[in-house]
Symmetry: C2
Subunit: 355 residues, 2 copies
């Protein structure tokens, strides 16, 4: 029995593996609701969008900045919840779409932002896994994630469903049938990312001594860099700092020396040249680079990095979903190599109440 | 002669020491211009503000999010320059105030954001040290920093002048004479921060082996945490990650173990309780905490951290300026202890052109 328990996958691992099924359910069950909400947003015609979120959900908000910008021409900013809670001096959000994103829907500061914005005359939307939560109740509109209970402390399936929900809303707003076809292929892309990155511990053993990581992405995958860094922090207790490739060149590159562990998020697309353009600079410094990409045979990649492969064929705007799954499996492999239990992160609880 | 050279203060140190004079000049020479620009902004009545910046200037933009929110009720978001440059899919900024912040005014992506926003019908403003730069030319309005040439690669005086310029604009927008009085006391507050934190190397020798730092701030001083982390990265080649105290509890606290070096930015004000509330959690984990504060005799602080003292009397909304100066001197002390020359950061140049 003891052996069985040891061989049992962790909750973190189980929930990583659940993602293809969970995403397929959201895509099927949520489309009508996404289209209803898009209709309300279009009628409201917001000046801009502001998003309130913390932790993993804040990374989903970062994805929305690029997605709603590129596909819907919407200007998107992230809110500053402490103006509402600590300073009692909220900015004016009348005429804006204000979105609260929270797995549990419990975080009091996010709820306060939504309540205040709604009173000011903003259109408010909750994206949450719990339709009975304070956040769902506070907002005028609610888009449920249908992700099922998430038991691991480090979020996985709720992050990918948050991204998918945002992608569904953006696609409904754009009214683009082609993009819906792309979306429907997501569960398969995630399934392939899981298959190609299972048993990663052996291939990434060289990173297991690293106490400092840098994770670099840009554009749609800027969010992916943040989320992979957060998973490494939560499960491996390392300092993992996310950067855009542009900001990285403005100072932080100075800290890279021999064997420095770096994860590049570089799927095919408009940021690929920018990300792979860093490889010679990193190689020059003898950094240890792993790269999440579908362009595994590209000459820019071959030989200069260990690849965490994605299946080809996912368009760039959806690549953050299979890319982060590869990153989740990288964090899992690193935690395993270090002898840590990802289900028991030191000092963390599933619901963190911040004000 | 060799000895003279070794004893000569670095450019980084010289420019830290210049700050009281440079800020006094901006406050005197810039007030009329700040009031003119505020008049234009008030007449335009923007729906919201979006700011384009990179590196140190991006940290100034973070300060503006809190300041314009708390004092002017303006919703402020940070732009995503790659939507303009890499994706060629800019969001719609008509009706917005769009501000570009750049010391050199050279960064092509920031210039592109301002050019595009101006064509879309946004009100555009450049905050820069070079009034002949492409950024100054691209924007409808320009607020010059009067900081003089900055020669050190790691920015110091241009950051504190950027914050001061933003504080002057906000105060002019609010039309509040009391706040101008607070502003005029800034050069003395910075002078005192320098005096109280000179010779810091001896008191912070315990941090000199640290390769990973966490810097925590919140609200007005969220920006300060980012900027101090960036100085540590640029001058000491460490991974230094900034957090809001709220986000820190949502995951990253798991990585803190014995002797982990942490800098808390905790001046007196509304976030003080939030920041010092972390001290028991950090002490429990035997972390090594240094704290930037004017409340050096507060029971919450005494005995649990090494203090980097600020003079009392600076209101919270201006505290990021003396607080970051204490952080600059901390970075200088750490670089000195490690034998690094802060004027020669590996692989950095003063002007970084990103697209």
């Amino acid at each position: 029995m003891v052996q069985d328990e040891e061989d049992m996958p962790t909750l973190f691992e189980q929930e990583i593996y659940e993602q293809p099924v969970v995403l397929a359910r959201l895509l099927t069950d949520g489309r009508t609701r996404a289209e209803e909400i898009a209709g309300r947003i279009t009628a409201f015609a917001p000046h801009a969008v502001f998003i309130a979120a913390r932790g993993t959900s804040d990374n989903a908000a970062r994805y929305a900045q690029y997605l709603f910008g590129a596909h819907n021409r919407l200007a998107v900013g992230l809110t500053t919840p402490s103006l509402f809670t600590i300073y009692d001096a909220p900015p004016e959000y009348r005429g804006m779409l204000v979105i609260g994103i929270s797995q549990s829907g419990q975080s009091p500061d996010i709820v306060t932002v939504i309540e205040t914005a709604r009173m000011q005359g903003a259109l408010t939307l909750a994206i949450t896994n719990d339709t009975a939560s304070p956040l769902a109740t506070a907002a005028e509109l609610c888009f449920p994630l249908h992700a099922g209970v998430e038991r691991a402390v480090a979020a996985t399936k709720t992050y990918t469903t948050q991204l998918t929900a945002l992608a569904m809303l953006s696609t409904a707003l754009a009214g683009a049938p082609d993009l819906w076809n792309d979306l429907m292929r997501l569960p398969d892309a995630v399934r392939e990312a899981i298959q190609r990155n299972t048993g990663l511990a052996e291939r990434t053993a060289a990173w297991a001594a690293g106490q400092r990581f840098v994770v670099i992405g840009r554009g749609f995958n800027y969010a992916t860099a943040f989320e992979i860094a957060l998973k490494l922090q939560e499960t491996c207790y390392v300092v993992a700092e996310p950067f855009s490739s542009a900001d990285f060149l403005h100072g932080p590159i100075a800290m890279i020396d021999s064997d420095f562990p770096i994860v590049l998020v570089a799927p095919t697309g408009r940021t690929f040249a920018d990300l792979t353009g860093l490889l010679p600079l990193l190689t020059e410094r003898n950094a240890s680079v792993s790269i999440i990409t579908d362009a595994t045979a590209d000459p820019a990649v071959l030989g200069s990095a260990v690849t965490l492969p994605m299946a080809p064929g996912t368009p760039e705007w959806l690549s953050p979903i299979p890319a982060v799954v590869a990153g989740q499996l990288f964090a899992l492999a690193q935690a395993t190599l270090r002898g840590y239990d990802p289900d028991q992160p030191r000092g963390l609880t599933k619901i963190t109440e911040t004000y």
